[in-house]
Amino acid sequence: MSKPPVFALIDCNSFYASCERVFRPDLAKVPIVVLSNNDGCVIARSYDAKPFVKMGEPYFQIKQKLNQHGIVAFSSNYALYGDMSERVMSLIESLVPGVEVYSIDEAFADLTGIDGLDELGRRIRSQVLRCTGIPVGVGIAGTKTLAKLANHTAKRLQAQTGGVVNICDPFKRDWVLRNTAVSEVWGVGRRMSAHFEGMGIKTAMDLAKTDPWTLRKKFSVVVEKTARELAGTPCLELDEPNPPKQEICCSRMFGKRLQELPPIKEAVATYMMRASEKLRAQGSVCKKLRVSIRTGMFNPDEAKYANGVIVDLPYPTDDVRLLTKAAVDALDRVFRPGFNYSKAEVLLLNLCQRGEYTDDLFAAAQPAEATRVMAVLDQINERWGRGTLRAASVPVNPDWGMRREMMSQSFTTRLDQLWKVSCN
């Protein structure tokens, strides 16, 4: 008989704040918040900042509160978080048979057939902490949904559990199910827990005991699976590496409102540069693209406008020059003067793998030279850094660029910004 499956969910504690602390030991006991792009609102908090600051609070509204409680704010430093995430994930990969990286700070692992699960959980935790300085919690159980729940318990009862909770044992599992609100179950949102409340489902245990068929009829097959997984029947497997994306998107808020067309064109050319890099990295070409622009949507004093264009390209392409021209020309058709624009987005559509589409005998195709030029472009930028070679319409330091006034150094990814260690 094959062994019953065992999953672990490994989750970094307050990941962004923990990354900021790795190279700032002086902040080990100082509460930290991390802000969204353009320093808009709070997207991450260290444990000691949580009692004072809510997720999503706008930075400009809470400056005084931060000062009062001695909370330090950082702009998001994705170069640092991305590098630390890669380190954490490769350390986990070296310790377990199979990993699914679920997000920048979470991974599922397959621990089926391993003896000494608690000990392995503790080893993962101590290795990652020692080698990266990032604390993680480990939840171990017979299904992914239960592993997520075990992890939640490890976080909630950090002191008692040492950050590792194994609920493969049915008694422990039932204790956790009884003592966890249904709103904390993976995939159960606020609206659904309100629904559940009405049905008398309050704890995770209540959901585990609800008839799966009723749930399927009333909600969806996803909810049914959640309940089955809580009851101990695995329905979800470790996901395979992602197949190539069917759409590629690059969208960002401008660092300030833009009124004129030329800087918006620069921004769209910049986003297209990035989108086309992603396109070529996965070996795809695209036949359509969409460009959209909009004003801010929340300020009651500003006139609102949003519009988009779809462009059919003459042939499936990955040539940034053609894509940029198409996107920038498309802007002429939707730009209206007199608005304060806040955001642009480019989306590459109808992707297919190079060589997998049927050539139209009479239609033009991307010239072979263009493909070679793109390959050289990517090589140069890989070797010398993103943006070394770029379309002339892409500025180096645009004044509409992202606002990141409180960003920490790129401690691990820029030679000129390495951590300084003193021999004095």
């Binding site: 987005e345 050289v376 090589q379 260690v421």
Partner: protein, 141 residues
Amino acid sequence: MSYSIIGPVAEGGLKVPLCLFHVPAGFPSPAADHIEAHISLDEVLNIRAPHVYLVSITGESMQGAGIFEGDLAIVDRSIEPAHGHIVVALLNNDPVCKRLCIRGKDVILLSENPKYPPRYVLEGDELSIWGVITGSVRSHV
């Protein structure tokens, strides 16, 4: 090219991890069949390992160990620090590079420059070892 205006667009798109593939291009070389693996300083110094970090050195106290101002030091966080290692220590939260000396109950951070006296770690001090320095790189221009 054909353009069709579609009106307001909702937020969309998925996040794609940052990564670039190596795309082969260029001209075939007669040496291509004879190339062995390239020598890689990344491998020699093991700086791609998830537990290895580069830091930049300031100050002169470790000159005797061949570590000078402006050098890059390679720090391994997976090694258990022991007596005799050159380490990045956090002494009261300040990152310093010293030789770790453990004598009975005493922990001493030694410099390798006669101008700098040994620093005994005292009761009120907070000390932790951030990582062990396994090598350093200096530029001679």
